[in-house]
Amino acid sequence: MPPLAAGTPLALWPRTAVLLPDAREPVVLPAGCRAPLVDWCAGRTHEVPAQVQSALAPLLDDAPSDLNRVEQRLALLDERYVGWLPGFTRSRDPELRRVRAMHSRRKAWTLPRLARPTLPSSTLRRAEIIAALCGKKILLTDDPDGLGVLLATNADVTVTEPDPVRHHWLATEAARENNKLHLTTNSDIDGLFDVSVIFCGPPAASAAELGLAIRCTRPGGHIVVGMRLPWEEVMLSLAAQAGLVVERYEREIDHWLVPGLAVIDGGQDLVVYRRPEGAALPAIEAGVAATVRATPHGVLDIDSVPRATLDKTALTRFATLLAAAAPAAEEGRSLHGAHDHDVLCWYDSRGHGLTAELRRAEEHLLISIVPFDADLEYLALWAAHAVLCDDASRVRPLRTRRADKEYFFA
């Protein structure tokens, strides 16, 4: 049996472990596999228990650990998605190779918190912008793609990372680079930083991130915000009310990755604010109802679904993967068909879920998420890519609608 190692395509979702073979659809592993695999990926054990190894044995032949394969795929995706920047991949080749190598050494994918994993080129572009800001003491409140490791080459970097798998990966990479990366699982940060890097989320999460950044960033320092749909309105409004001053707006700097190494069109902006003296967080409406009120729904459009997967069977497999990956157990689902389309309605025990309509003639998948739930959005994108899509399938761009005060779409 091939050994489990970094580069093995593995996803450790909140309740299950999933193997991601190249040649076929993801395989949900037996119930007892997740905890030992988390322990192994988090560096708590050096060996995967024998019973897990034997459960995985027949599957690993189809999903070998192959760092080169991962790096090659990432290089292809970088070229595809950052090719619009004149000369970028050529001029940054050594740096990109370094980031790709680091990304390929991730032992497993886990559910993102606020920030999402991105292409190596996105990580590098963010690192270059942040590294150019004044000051050498940097705080990151989330780091799914090794930004902190890159910044720590020339700065004193603190990263909040409660996820044990990502935490271990970042620690290992920092040790490999022998740099100054301080990792903590505690979001109650103490100290004053030159730069704080935060992310937007539902209103309460955005406010918590911004409050932390204002408290921990010295006056005159910078607060760097990852700005994403559908919460840019919330964060832009909070930042403006807090008195932060926009210094730079980098549009669609991030391209999000989902396990299986598929890229979502669109992505996240990066906004660099200066933190003035006297910046203060405004009061916001808190609670779950306020979160839903801010974003009651979300829509995903996936075009060019291959003809081979345009049927009820594929939608059923999509629901099965979603049920395995979702943070809460499935409560119920329904699947109906008409002459030109099939519709799945799926909800978990929290009352979060989605409706997915697959239209055969149009080769199109429409997913509406009610109430909007970023975890389900990410997992639905992953499950759709895993069972319904191929390399030519495209998610209609998820992108912010404004830059600072300006709405710029027709």
């Binding site: 070229e79 595809r80 998605y81 090719g83 619009w84 920047l85 004149p86 000369g87 970028f88 001029s91 730079r248 707006y249 980098e250 549009r251 669609e252 700097i253 069109d265 779950v288 109802a289 839903v292 009120r293 009651p296 729904h297 829509v299 459009d301 075009d303 060019s304 409560e331 119920g332 689902r333 329904s334 109906h336 068909g337 008409a338 030109d340 389309h341 519709v343 309605c345 909800y347 929290r350 009352g351 879920g353 409706t355 309509e357 239209r359 149009e362 080769e363 199109h364 429409l366 509406s368 009610v370 109430p371 030519a392 495209r394 209609r396 761009p397 830059a403 710029f408 779409f409 027709a410």
Partner: protein, 442 residues
């Protein structure tokens, strides 16, 4: 003696543009966001005046147009309003790479921005939707600076994106083939004004090619509509016009990637590079278009075959429509702080849906309930889509999703939900885009 030497010229005032659409034509004032609908009889004179014209034959209209600022004296020039707005849109992307631009590339960008700032007519009827000046520059930079890669004989198959301008600025020998005589005149005038040299030739690609034109160019660029007919005719003509082994760049709308790859396989040309989301476009309102496209580098190989022989006429069926799914809008209705959540249970929700079915075209072919402790989802299929109703009794919030949006059904459902759960609503907010209708009631 040219007309311009005999009579004074006029051009459209600053911030005034002419938008010629498939349904109507408007004069748009970008300074005030005002619009005036234009009778079709005035399209031609307004096109002429957008290029700088004496107004011959329309003298009686001139005083009023001058008085209202629609036209001003003088030959056509760069419009400072357009230039400022386009420069602001360009900043969204340009900041990512402008520091790396060479002085020649910077000059090429400035000239491209000037050229786009001179264009005052937008012919959306035939699918013209220009790229941002910064995108136009990036297209040229992929070809390269003639000082580094050598001067190339370049063919632009259609050029409403004005990519000929930065290519000429970077030292290449550029020829534009286009069917739009307005655009050709515009390109010639603009090139002259900017001190650039390029050839603008009227050419209908459906006509056979001259022998002298074949195997002539080193490279081509084109941004066709993304449909099979357009791909086949544009690429057939382009491959006949360039030398064997020559490169080409084609804009492809993302969702049609599979179609383009099929055409590539049939015509046996290699895809050298695929730059996703390379091309960003703007509308006549000087806003970013939601449409964007990929930029694909291909090559004419020894084995490349054309679908339309160079010496034959071709009759495409579909030149002016993208070949992808324009989905109907989806409707979301969000009812916040509902007043009687204890009645938002499956029994009552089913009754509301029964009422809606009895009083509207809505017909649910199947109905399914998912029930939690504090929430309920009722999902129904229709002949052409679905309806999902989600209610959270603890949070007192109800959301309805209707796809596709059908006004009659939505109207009845809204009245029923309002009567049942929001009889004292104080706020209603509606927003709509091409894809989503979003109603929020509180």
């Amino acid at each position: 003696m040219p007309e311009s030497a005999q009579k004074p010229l006029y051009h459209l005032g600053d911030g005034i543009v002419l938008g010629i659409g498939s349904r109507d034509t408007q004069l748009i004032d970008l300074k005030t966001d005002g619009e005036i609908r234009i009778d079709f009889r005035f399209i031609e004179p307004l096109e002429k005046v957008s290029l700088g014209w004496s107004g011959e034959g329309y003298e009686s209209f001139l005083p009023r147009l001058l008085q209202e600022g629609v036209i001003v004296h003088g030959p056509a020039t760069t419009d400072p309003v357009l230039k400022t707005k386009l420069a602001a849109l360009d900043r969204l992307y340009l900041t990512a790479y402008e520091a790396a631009l060479s002085p020649r590339a910077r000059r090429a960008y400035e000239l491209t921005l000037e050229a786009h700032g001179r264009r005052k007519r937008f012919f959306t009827r035939v699918g013209q939707c220009p790229t941002l000046p910064e995108t136009t520059l990036r297209r040229a930079l992929l070809v390269g600076d003639a000082a580094e890669v050598g001067a190339k004989k370049i063919l632009c198959v259609g050029d409403d994106d004005l990519v000929s301008v930065p290519l000429a600025a970077l030292g290449h020998d550029v020829t534009v083939f286009d069917i739009d005589d307005f655009l050709l005149t515009f390109l010639r005038d603009t090139a002259a004004a900017l001190g650039l040299t390029l050839q603008a030739v009227e050419k209908d690609l459906r006509d056979p090619l001259d022998d002298a034109e074949r195997d002539h160019f080193d490279l081509f660029l084109t941004d066709p509509m993304s449909n099979r007919d357009c791909f086949e005719i544009f690429l057939s003509r382009a491959f006949s016009l360039v030398k064997p082994g020559a490169r080409g760049y084609v804009a492809v709308y993302g969702p049609t990637e599979r179609l383009f790859r099929e055409v590539a396989a049939e015509m046996k040309f290699p895809i050298v590079a695929w730059h996703r989301r390379h091309n960003r476009y703007y509308s006549q309102y000087m806003k970013i278009h939601t449409y964007e496209s990929d930029w694909v580098e291909i090559r004419r190989d020894a084995g490349t075959v054309v679908k339309h022989a160079a010496n034959e006429f071709c009759v495409p069926l579909n030149l002016y429509a993208e070949q992808f799914y324009q989905r109907h809008p989806i409707f979301f209705g969000f009812y916040d702080e509902i007043e009687e959540p204890r009645f938002a249970t499956p029994l009552y929700l089913d009754m509301i849906l029964d009422i809606a079915e009895g009083n509207s075209p809505l017909k649910l072919t199947a109905r399914h309930t998912i029930l939690g402790q504090e929430w309920t989802v009722i999902h129904g299929s229709t002949d052409d889509g679905h309806l999902t109703v989600h209610v959270d009794r603890a949070r007192r919030q109800l959301t309805m999703t209707l796809f596709p949006m059908r006004a009659e059904s939505e109207d009845v459902l809204r009245h029923a939900f309002m009567s049942g759960y929001k009889p004292k609503a104080t706020q209603a907010k509606m927003s709509s885009s091409r894809d989503v209708w979003d109603l929020r009631i509180r």
